[in-house]
């Protein structure tokens, strides 16, 4: 009961997805703000889009204001993740509370509500930085290519940053991994610039634009070279299993990996693959997992069994697991696999002054790829020892990405009542959140810790008592 109560309180602090959010806002949001200056940076360098909006907001109402709204389409909302809002001039202020509110379910536009820590007085200004990620952002163009062709992706967005308020001045920068950007929408320029965008290497700049009304959009599309695999993890199930008897923390990650790049026009040709083996190709050949120092006993399997094309380098400075898929991954190809490893408990587990235990593990530990990795659904399961109670947790993953958290019972070897497990589900994460902390505290009484040997001891004693009783039976015929 106590554990349930703690979790009920913990969950009340978690920001849920739009479906669980209260409908409490009028449509459209009241015009109480003005964007005095806005810089919209779209980073398309990896296989997900990271957007940064740095905006100087000004309260134009007559009352202090503490809620700022940012619009998203319902399509974007399903792919939105990792929302973080900070004060650009005060790093100590910490991340602001940001959550999706469902203003009107029938409309295509929904809003992210940003709660300022202190209300802004009329006429006052504040610079805030909003960052978020959009998964599944690109479309290969052309959708199919030959094995030796370069890969191009397209991305559609608005040259004017979508805003619920009037924007006095703004510009949008788009950054790419390669400078080859063959197609992009051109807009009439202003001032000294005859045409937007301005191209500088691998960067396009739309603007600066003059004052735009609330809700103004200017759809544009860019098509750019991306000769790297588009790594999309549809499902990641990550288990962290704590053993007090063994002094071990075991990790296991089960991936459903999809290469989301351009599909092959023709069937895969081994001859062409061997012949055109170029280093910049859009084929996924290798993944590199930098694990924590001290990791050991790695394994790498799929549904067939062990995959031998892996290498583990472990020393005092690093523990790097390098794996090759069972087959090279082309666009549209899928590869489910499992990796796992062990580590000493002392690296992640500490004893608190109150007699409890506190565990600190990375929430996400995927591969570190130059092209990035996006995770659509993530389930992290922390399997605590049997009998652990009073479970609490916190994580530095943005709360808007956490979908649910609950405590369940997981039964496995030598268990009698099952192990206490904390299951956290998250969505739309990217590898930028790699190594973000997940801290879990719990109590583990001595009686609970002795449960496993006591079960064996009691079973043995019952067996011995049975033998003893059997031995005392006199089955001989009396003379």
């Amino acid at each position: 009961m106590r554990t349930s109560a703690v979790f009920a309180a913990a969950l009340s602090l978690v920001s849920f997805a739009a479906a669980n959010s209260p409908v409490s806002q009028t449509y459209p949001p009241p015009q109480v703000w003005k964007n005095a200056n806005l810089v919209h940076i779209i980073s398309a360098e990896k296989n997900y889009v990271k957007e940064n909006i740095n905006v100087l907001i000004e309260n134009i109402a007559k009352q202090p204001q503490d809620e700022y709204f940012l619009p998203f389409t319902t399509d974007q909302l399903a792919r939105l993740g990792g929302v973080e809002v900070k004060d650009r001039k005060d790093a100590k202020a910490g991340p602001f509370v940001a959550e999706i509110v469902e203003v009107d379910p029938k409309r295509n536009t929904q809003y992210l509500r940003i709660q300022l820590p202190t209300p802004l007085k009329p006429g006052a200004q504040q610079t805030i930085g909003i960052s978020y990620y959009l998964l599944d952002a690109y479309k290969p163009l052309p959708a199919t290519i030959n094995i030796e062709d370069p890969q191009f992706l397209s991305y559609s967005f608005s040259a004017y940053c979508p805003s619920a308020y009037t924007t006095s001045k703004q510009k949008t920068e788009v950054k790419f991994a390669f400078s080859n950007i063959p197609d992009y929408t051109r807009l009439p320029g202003s001032g000294d610039v005859a045409e937007f965008p301005v191209k500088q290497g691998a960067k396009l700049t739309y603007g600066p634009f003059d004052e735009k009304a609330a809700g103004a959009v200017e759809p544009v599309q860019v098509r750019f070279e991306f000769n790297r695999p588009v790594n999309h993890v549809a499902d990641l199930e990550r288990d962290v299993e704590v053993s007090h008897w063994g002094g071990n923390v075991a990790f296991e990650e089960r991936y459903t990996w999809i290469q989301g790049g351009a599909n092959l026009t023709n069937h895969f040709s081994r001859v062409k693959y061997q012949h055109f083996r170029l280093p910049t190709w859009h084929i996924l050949r290798e993944m590199r997992f930098p694990l924590r120092v001290g990791s050991s006993d790695p394994y790498y399997t799929d549904v067939i069994g062990n995959i031998s094309t892996s290498h583990f380098r472990s020393n005092k400075r690093e523990a790097l697991l390098e794996i090759k898929p069972r087959y090279p991954l082309f666009g549209g190809w899928k590869f489910p696999f499992t990796i796992g490893w062990n580590s000493d408990a002392q690296n992640f587990l500490r004893k608190t002054a109150t007699g409890g235990y506190v565990l600190n593990v990375p929430f996400l530990e995927g591969p570190r790829q130059a092209e990035g990795v996006e995770y659509e659904h993530v389930q992290v399961r922390v399997i605590l020892p049997e009998g652990a109670e009073n479970v609490k947790y916190t994580t530095t993953i943005p709360s808007s990405s956490i979908v649910s958290a609950k405590v369940v019972i997981h039964k496995t070897f030598l268990d009698s009542v099952g192990r206490t497990s904390l299951v956290i589900k998250a969505r739309n994460l990217v590898d930028d959140f790699r190594d973000r902390e997940l801290v879990v505290s719990y109590d583990y009484p001595l009686t609970a810790s002795l449960r496993k040997p006591i079960v064996v001891i009691a079973s043995s004693m019952a067996f011995f008592a049975g033998i003893w009783l059997l031995g005392n039976l006199n089955l001989q015929f009396s003379k």
Binding site: E241, S243, G246, Q346, A353, L414, A465, W468
Partner: protein, 96 residues
């Protein structure tokens, strides 16, 4: 979520969790306890079970079936088996 847990983690920096038996010793401890437990079990069985066809009617060959036999041999055997099984599980990589 309880954001104070970061402070709890920092405060506990001087107390990393150390198991009663280290990973390198788990096999030796588990094996020794298991073998000891099985030997004691065997001794207990020999001293307790009555032969079905006794070779002679002599009362000298009768096994001791006192309750003390169960306590003196059975309990240590059960203890050794209980902890031995747990450590042997850990030693072979199934960290229970």
């Amino acid at each position: 979520m309880d954001s104070s847990l970061h402070e709890v983690w920092q405060a506990a920096s001087s107390q990393p969790f150390l198991p009663a038996v280290g990973k390198n010793s788990q096999f030796a401890v588990g094996f020794t306890l298991l073998v000891g437990g099985l030997l004691l079990s065997a001794i207990f069985a020999i001293r307790t079970l009555r032969p079905i066809n006794p070779p002679s009617a002599s009362t000298d060959d009768e096994p001791e079936r006192s309750f003390a036999n169960l306590a003196v041999i059975g309990v240590p055997a059960a203890l050794a088996l209980g902890f031995g099984v747990v450590y042997m599980f850990c030693a072979v990589g199934v960290y229970v």
